[in-house]
Amino acid sequence: MSKILLHDLDHIKEKKLTEQKNYKAMLMVCTGTGCVSAGSFTLYDLLKKELKDRNLEKDFIAVPTGCNGFCAQGPIIVVQPEGILYQKVKENNISEIIEQHLINGKLVEKLMYKDRLSKKPIPKMKDIQFFGKQMLIALRNRGIIDPGNIEDAITRGAYKALSKALTKMKPEEIIKEVKKSAIRGRGGGGFPTGIKWESCYKAAINRKEKPYIVCNGDEGDPGAFMDRSIVEADPHAVIEGMTIGARATGAEEGYVYIRKEYPLALERLRKAINDAKEYGLLGEDILGTGFKFEIKIHQGAGAFVCGESTALMASMEGKAGEPRAKYIHNVEYGYRNKPTILNNVETWANIPVIIDKGAKWFASIGSGDVSESPWNGSTGTKVFSLVGDIVNSGLVEVPMGITLREIIYHIGEGIPNDRKFKAVQTGGPSGGCLPESLLDLPVDFDKLTKAGSMMGSGGMIIMDDRTCMVDVAKYFINFLKDESCGKCIPCREGLILLYEILDNITKGKGQDTDIEIIEQICDTMVNSSLCGLGQTAPNPVLSTLKYFHDEYIDHINNKKCPAGKCKDLIKFEINDNCTGCVLCDKNCPVEAISGELKKKYQIDQTKCIQCGICYDVCKYNAVTIN
């Protein structure tokens, strides 16, 4: 492919659309990480082979796509243009889909999603409740394009915004538009992107330096995987966003910092960058306009703190990822000490849409009045990973301002196994746990922060009544204790102390003074840690103390874990439901279970290690946790 010019974008689109019209149907096979682990690459290969063997290649085509977000139901195949969704597809279903659906035109009912209450099959993707309230901006191309095919992306409008930014807008106008859209950083901090760009633009002019564009794809928050999905589903959205950022600030070099643990995302991003170069959408003289910009990749090596902006810059320079004091700003002295714009994957993926559809359109979505300042609201959409104890777990993109209840009970369809909702954790390790009484809270940057949690990168972990909140707090503190870089004392020592106290509480060794000491340590950490990691680290403890105070008291005073989670405070016992089926005895790793066949079994508490395997394997609800 030779380099393309501005008008070629439309030609590619027209050519591709004509090509697509020749097919009676296109089978979109989800190849996001979730579906891949369930075998979707094999399905794709098989489907392609079957279509070829049966001489159906002229009428039908199989397309590998990025993540649809409906991960728990994978592997997923969507038959377009009607949008028929087949879930949990297995290899032996492929010939059925071909014969029954493609050849005979009859839908395969058994592979359809069933409504949870009425059990009625729902053929079309858009009618499934999970997809209904979603609004796709960052994930606009998910499930629709082959992420490895640049022409697919162009057909869906990729690089159209870039050509507008290159030919019809001056750098200042781009910055003004981004500012007016009031988009705030999707990586966690929620800093208004336009203000960041403007500061960098000014710093670059004042210092007569070329700035750098950096994309943060480190995504260290446990429980969040939206950045991975965006890169896997639509890498060109990120490339286009970064190139527009470069045009706005005069940068000529950009970097994507991405985790090595995401091999598929890395592979697709590499291919997308190479394709973009080949098509003349990156490199010298982009689209024949004389503008030049290059993107390179840096691979993260597993350090949560590298999501912190200054630590990320250090890591990109080939050093250990330790943060530095915050009075030096990246927009002035960032990567290689040059003015640098750092935004995360999701933010960059939003930029082309803002330029294409305009700031006014973008700002009309979301909450708050941003006409005076972007700080007054949260505009656009946010991608959340809805996981944990939830019926429809997966990736969802919703307008800002939607309530937690709508996300959890409408899109997520509530808690499985008729359990009771207990808490929702947002914002990763720097966020907090919110209780049932706050379910009607609108989800936006400021409301979440006010409630003691935060937006973070968008992890939303739902917990049912079997989750112990002291254990959850201990879990996060343990995580942060390991991930603290150790440079400043309040964070390093504070986390070790917090962990010890929480560990004692969960072991039934809590003392009356513990809560007071916890609060003092948290206060010190919030006020005197060097970077955001330490300053926000106490959030999981403070929010659980605030909303689940009684649970701490139960652990400390009564030596009880009401949720039945803390091993040292619980006992596994067998009740009268036991049929003597021997399954628990067979699976017990320490031979603590004994009894006679077809009679009630018993657990020897002196041998039991509370591993819970008997509880898992019992089919008669005969094992109880006391």
């Binding site: 995504e219 691979q299 090596a301 050093k319 250990a320 777990s393």
Partner: protein
């Protein structure tokens, strides 16, 4: 494990792949880790020679990031995800089941150098929690009772 001439060639090849650019020492170390399953003293010394990054800094990097190990890892690395979603779904007990079955703790390698257990925080497929990987294979919705069966495939 001794470092032979051939190993040195491999290290040099990796360094060359990244143009001896000291901004890419983390990537070089990743490749060395992939190739040898650990970072040896000799490899660090060679890196120091070729990139001019001080040995102390290289050691700092090799011990700072989770991906690197100064001890050889087993043939199959078992990554047990303890991300938040997995934790809620009881992955701690999955980890304990692996530790029990293999008689090693997190971070350790079996004496036959077959398995290393490694706790990771989030593999980014939270909808499938609890998630583990063995070598290049990813398994979702793992329960502690399935662990012995999972391991059998690799022995």
């Amino acid at each position: 494990m001794s470092f032979v001439n051939n190993d040195l060639k491999k290290v040099n090849k990796i360094i060359k792949k990244w143009n001896s650019d000291n901004e890419y020492v983390i990537e070089m170390l990743q490749d060395i880790q992939d190739e040898f399953r650990y970072i040896s003293k000799e490899a660090l010394e060679q890196l120091n020679k070729e990139t001019k990054v001080p040995l102390a800094n290289l050691y700092h990097i090799a011990t700072f990031y989770k991906a690197f190990s100064l001890e050889p890892k087993g043939k199959f690395e078992i990554q047990v995800c303890l991300g938040t979603a997995c934790h809620v779904k009881g992955s701690q007990r999955v980890l304990e089941a692996f530790e029990r079955e293999l008689n090693i703790k997190d971070g350790e390698t079996t004496s036959n150098k077959l398995f290393t257990i490694e706790v990771v925080r989030c593999l980014g497929c939270c909808s499938l929690s609890s998630v583990i990987t063995i070598g290049n294979d990813l398994f979702g919705e793992v329960r502690p009772s399935q662990v012995p069966k999972l391991l059998k495939k690799y022995i």
